[in-house]
């Protein structure tokens, strides 16, 4: 007989999630997995819809990163109709996108993942949240966090119409340009964003990197997996959120593949399991070997750590300085430590902020030519973008009228689904021994997935930013002998 430990609900992965842990007779972990109990079927009901409506339809997959879906869908439409947006439109999109990346990464750092470090991984649960963060860093800074979120989200709202579910993407362009007044106002916000990113990186340095216990935690074996990594890079192999080459490096950090969105089918496949509604992507040219890491397993990882590992550097100067420090501190490339994702994320926030400054200061962004309508007959359109949580693919096929006949979506978080399962299982195996379940286990397991995926917790940025977890420990007769909750 096995004992079963259920963690339910842990909140969402585009919805909800549940962790099951089974202990053997000796009280050690025999099996652990994450179940995603939800499916909504977008790939089916996309069929029959008009291509140009897809940016509005698909963004409702996620209300936390709708801008990522909206933009990726819009890029798939560029490809579908064979049009490049004019320079101003492209810059507006990139500016909007980098603003979104900046805002979303901050949200994660201050509201979701950050509290584990800023307040402490073993701090009382009631303090391990954004309020705890404010208590630790001071109210002034708390106000700063709220203020920069509000101002950057206002930019997205102005450009996109709605901030939750923007609407301005069109094949070959955007629906509205930028005025001179807006440019002036947003220059200031962009500069403030860079200052804020500096502040965040310094806080990370002071609070996390100067604390040996934290560094040991990051470098520990509990949160380590040697996998492949994937991310978008520009022609110089520098991190790019909006466009470029999809680059994959192997567990030693060597380039394994580099391809354009159009070729993704040659590189990625997805498996199905009966116990969850989520699929498990893997590298086709390595193959699926199950939930294991290493060079022979096609499991790959995306999101901030994946992007940094898959690149040769950051695209902006300040972010590059931190990138170098990142690898120096953590022992060279690639970094396999899942918790280092938090650091990678704040380095990316810096690149996003520097890009905001660069783009909004570009005089060309005011050019009124924001549409290219030289459409070819539509057939296939594939878009890729780096969502905050990883590489996102939208693939549409249509009839000659631009009505969808087929769709394929690989959503950012899904890329990491196999790795998340592995991380949970490993953390559980290493932390639960001989039936002893320490209360700290709760947060340690939370930390194993939180590093990947704010979509799990996509709404836990609500105060007090705590993922509710309950673990019930059953004896061999199925009776609850102990309940632990945070």
């Amino acid at each position: 007989m096995y004992k079963e430990i259920t963690i339910d609900p842990i909140t969402r992965l585009e919805g909800h999630g549940k962790i099951d842990i089974f202990l053997d007779e000796a009280g050690n972990v025999a099996h652990a997995c994450l179940q995603v109990p939800e499916l909504r079927g977008y790939e089916r009901f996309a069929v029959g819809r008009l291509a140009e409506e897809m940016p509005r339809i698909t963004e409702t997959i996620c209300g936390v990163c709708p801008t990522a879906h909206h933009m990726c869908s819009t890029k798939a439409l560029d490809d579908l109709y064979g049009v490049e947006p004019p320079p101003a439109a492209r810059k507006i999109r990139e500016f909007q996108y980098n603003t979104f990346m900046f805002e979303d990464h901050n949200l994660h750092f201050y509201f979701l993942g950050g509290p584990d470090f800023i307040v402490g991984p073993d701090a009382p649960a009631a303090e391990r949240n954004v309020l705890g963060v404010i208590a630790k860093v001071g109210l002034e800074i708390g106000k700063k966090v709220i203020d920069i979120r509000k101002r950057t989200r206002n930019i997205i709202q102005t450009l996109g119409g709605r901030v939750v579910h923007p609407v301005n993407g069109l094949p070959g362009g955007v629906s509205r340009g930028i005025t001179k007044e807006q440019q002036e106002e947003w220059k200031k916000i962009a500069e403030d964003a860079v200052e804020f990113a500096k502040f965040t990186l310094k806080a990370f340095d002071d609070i996390v990197l100067k604390n040996k216990a934290y560094v040991d935690l990051i470098l520990g074996d509990v949160y380590k997996h040697k996998t492949y990594y994937m991310g978008l890079v520009d022609d110089n192999n520098k991190v790019n959120f909006y466009d470029g080459w999809i680059r994959v490096v192997d567990p030693e950090g060597k380039e394994f593949a580099k391809f354009k969105a159009r070729d993704y089918l040659n590189h990625i496949a997805e498996g199905v399991e009966s116990w969850t509604y989520i699929k498990f992507p893997y590298l086709k040219n390595v193959g699926w070997k199950g939930f294991v890491d290493g060079k022979d397993s096609g499991v790959y990882r995306v999101a901030p750590l994946g992007r940094l590992n898959a690149s040769d550097g950051m695209a902006t100067p300040l972010a590059q300085e931190y990138y170098e420090k990142f690898y120096q501190t953590l022992g060279g490339k690639p970094v396999h430590h899942t918790l280092a994702t938090h650091w990678a994320r704040v380095i990316e926030a810096m690149q996003a902020a520097e890009k905001m400054v660069e783009l909004i200061n570009d005089p060309e962004i005011l050019d009124p030519r924001i549409r290219n309508m030289d459409f070819k007959t539509p057939k296939v359109g594939i878009g890729v973008i780096e969502a905050p949580r990883g590489t996102l693919f939208h693939h549409y096929e249509t009839d000659e009228k631009g009505r969808l006949t087929k769709a394929n979506l690989i959503v950012a978080t899904v890329n990491n689904s196999a790795a998340i399962n592995m991380s949970i299982e490993k953390a559980a195996r290493m932390l639960i021994k001989n039936g002893v379940v320490n209360d700290g286990l709760l947060n340690m397991i939370e930390m194993a997935f939180r590093a990947y995926d704010p979509c799990f917790a996509c709404a836990t940025h609500n105060l007090p930013g705590q993922v509710p977890i309950e673990i019930n420990i059953h004896n061999a007769q199925g009776e609850i002998i102990r309940t632990i909750k945070n």
Partner: protein, 321 residues
């Protein structure tokens, strides 16, 4: 006096409604001060059995977002109905079925086959599909049942009020909360938004010609929409005439037409049918050929006229499958 108890819950939704609550910014503190939140799975520790143990009707109001897509969502919605005096359908999915409600063009079998078999990247030679119960050597793993049909909240439980929108704008959320806490309750079934159609408050209304006639229908990507002019007058489908106002014309401000996320106005049962009738009245066609040409250019009436409201329309769902 004890503070009124309030619950938040989400069903088949995207998290955007939760974001909208966070976008209340400083106002959220006023809400937190005024009420005692007893259930907010995304933010607070709770157990379903804590809610089960509460006396019936002990929660003043439960705000539920998302459509009903599976058995777990139905179960919790029913539990909250039992424990709450008032239920508010929060956002387009709970109100109308929302965009995930477009899944009613298909059934469970087709959705599963697409997701787990037919999509390009899926490799599934053994044709494995998610199962309600999976036996593993260590025990059993269970999943909630995925239903054939997406339902709005009021097709599952009795609903008292509606807060429309995808997502509802923060000012409307605040208005809704204040209205319900004031004790001065509006009539049951009220949609907390404008009573008028979007066109009435649309900044482009003034450019609408007295007698509107269109000769052709244009798709949004095929034209450069004049940022001042009524979309319909330009031949671009805008569901404003069949949609309740109160959204702040957010999409229109971005120079994009309305797709109806606030749902129909009070008198209207079927938003798509209402729009079709509005459209028919402005189409300028004299011959059968002209009529045919125009109707052929409406390629996807389901997606355009019922983008947010298919489950609550008279069409409901694909039949005979």
């Amino acid at each position: 006096m004890a503070k009124p108890k309030v619950a938040f819950y989400w069903c088949a939704s995207c998290g955007g409604c939760e974001e909208a609550v966070v976008d209340l910014a400083e106002d959220i503190l006023k809400v937190v001060e005024a009420v005692d939140i007893v259930l907010w799975p995304v933010a607070l520790d709770f157990k379903y059995k804590d809610i089960e143990a509460m006396p019936d009707k002990s929660i003043l109001v439960s705000f539920i977002n998302g459509a009903i897509r599976n058995s777990e969502q139905e179960h919790i919605a029913k539990l909250l109905r039992q424990k709450s005096q008032l239920i508010v359908a929060f956002g387009a999915c709970a109100h109308l079925g929302g965009i995930p409600g477009l899944a009613n063009v298909a059934n469970r079998k087709e959705i599963f086959e697409t997701a787990y078999k037919l999509t390009h990247t899926t490799v599934n030679p053994k044709e494995i599909f998610p199962q309600l119960v999976t036996e593993i050597p260590q025990g059993k793993l269970t999943l909630p049942e995925f239903y054939d049909t997406v339902k709005s909240l009021d097709q599952t439980i009795e609903v008292d009020y509606y807060l429309p929108g995808c997502a509802p704008p923060p000012d409307l959320i605040m208005k809704g909360v204040q209205t319900l806490l004031s004790g001065n309750l509006p009539p049951k079934g009220t949609v907390i938004a404008s009573e008028k159609a979007l066109c009435e408050t649309c900044p482009r209304n003034k450019t609408k010609p007295d007698k509107m006639v269109i000769k052709e229908i244009k798709r949004i990507h095929e034209v450069i929409a004049d940022p001042e002019k009524c979309f319909l007058a330009e031949g671009i489908i805008c569901v404003g005439p069949a949609t309740r106002g109160g959204c702040g014309e957010r999409c229109i401000n971005a120079n994009m037409p309305c797709r109806g996320c606030f749902g129909p106005t009070k008198e209207v049962i079927d938003q798509g049918a209402k729009f079709l009738s509005a459209l028919a009245s402005i189409i300028d066609a004299n011959t059968d050929e002209e009529v045919q040409k125009i109707t052929e250019s409406i390629i996807d009436p389901i997606g355009l006229f019922y983008m947010y409201s298919l489950p609550t329309s008279i069409l409901r769902r694909k039949q005979g499958v």
